[in-house]
Amino acid sequence: MGREVAESCVDGVVMEMVAAYCGRFYAAKPELAARRIEAIGFQVGHQLTERYTMERPRFNDHLEAIKFICKDFWSELFKKQIDNLKTNHRGTFVLQDNHFRWLTRVSIDPSIESMDANENDSTSLGDSAAQTTSMLLYFPCGIIRGALTNLGIACSVTADMSNLPACELHHPFCDIYLAYNSMWLCNAVTPSIFK
């Protein structure tokens, strides 16, 4: 058994990485920051698949590899399995996680919200919240893309947050907890073998 690290360290590293890339390194170019973060995730996913596929027999086809991602890989990373897997049988898979672990502690600074105090708060709140949270999702997207590429499936991965916010506490002294429902869309570029 190797050495262990507290899970909050992962939260801390991801938050700091997003803050550093978006705030300091590529402050004016969020797309570039997103791509760098995704590239980091790609390498991590690549290396993690080597480790997590070590004891397993080989996969026969793409579906088995995707199922591995949904079950074993997801439980190693996020301590739970994917809640729902959908496919259009033409190379697109939708992985739905109803309680994405890395987003459960995301909050928005309430001092920013108090500045625009009108009834349309919830929509502008939704936009800025969505933007911040979407930056946090690039790293897991990269991890999944790296994992799938290492298993031989060229793909692109996008994340989509719906049900935002699922639980809203609007209390002046409380942070506002957001979206913990996110969907992962994997588009396999190689031709699907499910005819």
């Binding site: 390498q43 690549h46 290396q47 698949t49 080597e50 480790r51 596929t53 070590m54 397993r56 027999p57 080989r58 996969f59 026969n60 290492n150 298993l151 031989g152």
Partner: protein, 143 residues
């Protein structure tokens, strides 16, 4: 005794090649390893009907040349491990054990953040671990 071990990437690019003989026949060993890649591809793409497990990582004896026996192992990420040995009787369990430990060492070497995927493995600790595994294999079979 094990003469050579090799790690070949999924595009058949060499990632690591280490020979354990004193003689300077590394070129011949490269050639043997290269030929065995074809055997692996053939074994994976055309599985025989009566092969017990199509998806096993351990491929077993690939082909015997006049002096050597070549064993192969294919991971889920299409990385191939090849072991060339001059031992005449290698037990299946020993070979599997060897590859299991080798796989563990490989995973640790690849998890190094300074390792570039696709480039050769330059880690000295990996070489040291491989030497230890080879020594224990040789001593296990001759004992």
């Amino acid at each position: 005794m094990v003469v050579c071990v090799a790690v070949v990437g999924h595009q058949n690019n060499p990632l690591y090649l280490q020979s354990f003989t004193e003689a300077d026949d590394s070129l011949k060993l490269h050639h043997v390893v290269h030929c065995s890649l074809d055997v692996i591809d053939e074994r994976v793409n055309n599985p025989k009907r009566n092969s017990p497990a199509l998806n096993e990582t351990f491929l077993g004896l690939l082909y015997p040349t006049e002096n050597y026996k070549v064993y192969g192992y294919l991971t889920n990420t299409k990385v191939k491990f090849i072991m060339v040995t001059t031992d005449l009787d290698v037990k299946d369990a020993d070979a599997r054990n060897f590859f299991r430990k080798f796989h563990a060492a490989y995973v640790d070497a690849v998890s190094n953040p300074f390792h570039v995927p696709g480039k050769k493995i330059a880690s000295r600790s990996f070489s040291a671990r491989v030497s230890t595994i080879v020594k224990s294999f040789s001593s296990g079979t001759t004992a």
